[in-house]
């Protein structure tokens, strides 16, 4: 399989994501330029962390208009696996690919620390290899990671088991229902505030983030099997 990592002006974790997927996991991967309406034949796409366009406006509010987002929306609608981490999650919400929104942390301060997140659903492209109920140690680092949604949306997310990851020790940012990550209805689009790309390399501590990327490979194989 081949991955694409979207590079917006102001993206920060794009190089780390390329390293995690390419160097650590050994998958084919290449950067996708925000200004090109072309996914270059990627089988899975990651929107990485950072501050796209500076995020001086609402997070992700400008990025959703980037040229690359049009083919990305079609790709997602066709069932292609799309992962948004941190700023990528914010952009997916702004683009309407995921429900809800991410607002300022309850503390009003940026927070960077290792967090334990619990796998709540394995019915998605980025958690199908994880153990339901298991904990993953993955860092968070954000100023605007407080997940909010209307009561009805939250009820729907819970009912449809679309809360993929939940903070195991309480949300560090005030997120409703301790939500760390959610999926779309089909399970192919997932967004989360924690950074799996920072938890892949044994030398740097946790390798719990690897399972998100490995899951996508399995998801694609089983999707092909279903299609075939």
């Amino acid at each position: 399989m081949k991955w694409g990592v979207v590079l917006f002006p102001g993206s920060n974790d794009d190089r780390d994501t390329l390293y995690a997927i390419g160097d650590v996991l050994g998958h084919a991967v290449e950067p996708l330029w925000h200004g090109d309406a072309d996914l270059k034949g990627a089988d899975a796409v990651v929107l990485p962390g950072g501050f796209a366009y500076g995020d001086y406006l609402r997070c992700g509010a400008l990025a959703r208009f980037a040229a690359v987002m049009e083919p990305l929306k079609r790709f997602a609608a066709d069932g292609g696996p799309v992962l948004g981490t941190c700023n990528g999650f914010q952009i997916l919400c702004e683009a309407g690919l995921l429900p809800g929104a991410l607002v300022r942390n309850r503390s009003l301060r940026f927070i960077c620390r290792r967090e334990r997140i619990r796998v709540e659903s394995t019915a998605t492209a980025f958690s199908c290899l994880a153990l339901a109920g298991s904990s993953l140690e993955i860092p968070v680092k954000h100023g605007e990671g407080c997940y909010v949604a209307s009561d009805s949306t939250l009820a729907e997310l819970e009912r449809e088991r679309r809360v993929v990851f939940r903070y195991a020790d309480g949300a560090p940012n005030g997120a409703l229902h301790d939500i760390a990550g959610v999926a779309n209805r089909a399970g192919n689009v997932v967004g989360l505030m924690p950074h799996p790309e920072h938890a892949v390399d044994p030398l740097l501590g946790s390798t719990d983030g690897q399972v998100l990327f490995r899951s996508a490979a399995k998801w694609l194989t089983s999707a092909e099997r279903k299609a075939g």
Binding site: N12, R15, G50, G54, D55, I111, P139, H195
Partner: protein
Amino acid sequence: MKSSRLAKQEVDEMLALEHGLTADEYRSVQAHLGRVPTIEELGVFSVMWSEHCSYKSSRFHLRKLPTEGPRVLQGPGENAGGIDIGGGMAAIFKIESHNHPSYIEPYQGAATGVGGILRDIFTMGARPVANMNSLRFGAADHEKTPFLLGGVVAGIGGYGNSVGVATVGGEVCFDSAYNGNILVNAFTLGVVARDAIFRARASGHGNPVLYVGSKTGRDGIHGASLLASSEFKEESEQMKPTVQVGDPFTENVLIEALLEAMRSDDLVAVQDMGAAGLTSSTVEMASRGDVGIRLDLDCIPLRDPTLTPYEMLLSESQERMVLVVRRGSESRVGAVFARWGLDCTVVGEVTEAQVFRADHRGRTVVAIPVKALTDDAPVYERPMRMPVRAADLGRYGEALDFRALAEPKDLARELLDLVGSPNLCSRRWVYEQYDSFVGGNTLAHPGSDAAVVRVRETGGALAMTTDCNSRYCALDPYAGTQHAVAEAVRNLACTGARAAALSDCLNFGNPEKPEVMWELVRSIEGMAAACAVFGTPVISGNVSLYNDTLGSSIPPTPVVAMVGIVEDAQRIARAGISSAGMTLVLIGGGRPQLEGSEYLALRYDLRGDRPPVVDLHGEKAMGDLCVTLIENGICHVAHDVSDGGIAITLTEMCLEGSGIGCSVDLQPLDRADVALFGESGCRIVLALDLSVVAEAERRASAAGVPFRVIGTTGGDRLQIKVGTPSASGATQVDIALRDLRERREATLPAIAAGTWGRQAHAA
């Protein structure tokens, strides 16, 4: 030259004095030009001859510092210094102050401090990989401290997190001596292939000068000449408009665009527009290349078309750089910046005549010989005088007979008070606001003795730390500065890194006071002597003088930012105890004393009259031993003994690890509190597996380094036995780690919330 005639405002001595020049300096300006300067030229001279840009008070003495060594690729004089780290790679680094702006406007002052030091690194062609900050605030319960602490930390995080460079370490201190003049020193380290280092040396007559980045506005005018080069007064608050505003997004794309442009052969020289903006950047490039530069001010991208030439030349708007490129490559270079959404405009050219010239609407507003602004700028050997103890500056302590001090009965309570004190408590509240992960190379995060960042290209890593104990420096600037260097070496050694080179940020008071000048000179001499022993040249740095408010100077604060090399990224040690059943060992021959200690200051409000004795050769031998043990896989846990003494070291080893306690037996000293909280240099605690203790001892003995087993790890309590000759039995400290953790974590959030003093009084 007819330009002077055309100046709208009449230039005279009065106006020169208002610009911060002295009467003598103004006469010298006229001698250099052979005429009265234009208003623009007066502005240019005032910034280029300011203390901040010219180093006129310190330059003479800075020559005493060693700047060369086998690893040095670039010493002082460029945007930053560089060392060879093996494998064809180089590390570029520098530390710089942003003190006065941060006091006036803490968020933007600190943010633009980070932005400025980053530009010094990537203009050398290096990708910035790590930031650190050395911060000093006033007393923890001072009314302005919560505002300043919150603003500075948010500003550092706001800029560093967004620009996408990991903030991996630093220091935070509180001391009432900084109540009116906080210190914000920012450090950046970048990595580059050693044959791809870029220098800021203009050359090639007729080569175009390009302006890239943000447009020019009125912000920051006279930040360098007036704000950074004079004492603080009450009206300095009104200088808030001279503080620049940072835009980390523009910096982020500037980094990417510039590193991309540097891959071609089109670029000749690159320089950040930092202090004194367009003027100093172009003048310094021209001076290094022994050429001139002519600027066409009509081409400068402006935020506001009504900017005068004077304002254009002196603006300190952020996120701007000048490039010299090969003639004919303008459009290629411009296309790279355009792809990243950045302005790139030709604003001048390199000239053979060594003149800094600026034209505006058909008239020449500046024409100054380049060297008059650089090499021929004033250098002062200012008078100095050793302060009379306990008098002059009011900071020097008295000889201390500590036997007269009542010895505390409850040592556990003393330890808890120290653990929860502003200078020894956990820095978590600060460092959790910084992204320390981005870049994917951080091996040791904030909270370690030194931060460690992997270098994928070499398989090794770089360790870095900032250190300075200003209490020691106030007692004796010579020994105090040596302690700062020695502590930095020790912190690096505790991670397994050999110290390679350092960058210094010399924060002092008004150099026109002979006592301050004496402190500065003694500090530089102490640093030079220490660097000679450790073999660590000073490759870059910054001098920040005039740190005075309402006539009172800060204590000498020579911050040392030291970088060390780890050969194998797999072989590093950490400060936290990793398992039970390990043997705790104290190495080094440092002898603890109360004078100058954090404990004495906190418990008795005393400073003493001398810092601990410095043993540079002992430090060197101990550091080398520690690194050897780590490199050979014998040691995985090491932590140095510094502020707060060995009791604090042991507390941190328990709390920074997996929550494993220890039980320790300390050698009897005159008093139990000296053994527990006394400070010295030259001590490190190691935690070793039982199976390697004999091997470690053999190596220590061969190296002539004192080695003593002091205890074992295990349990969930910190237990320390201290025998004293006078007491019948041993004194016991026995505290649950949970209680230590609680005290250690509660303090900084309380300081930030402004409730610290109130809580202390209530208790």
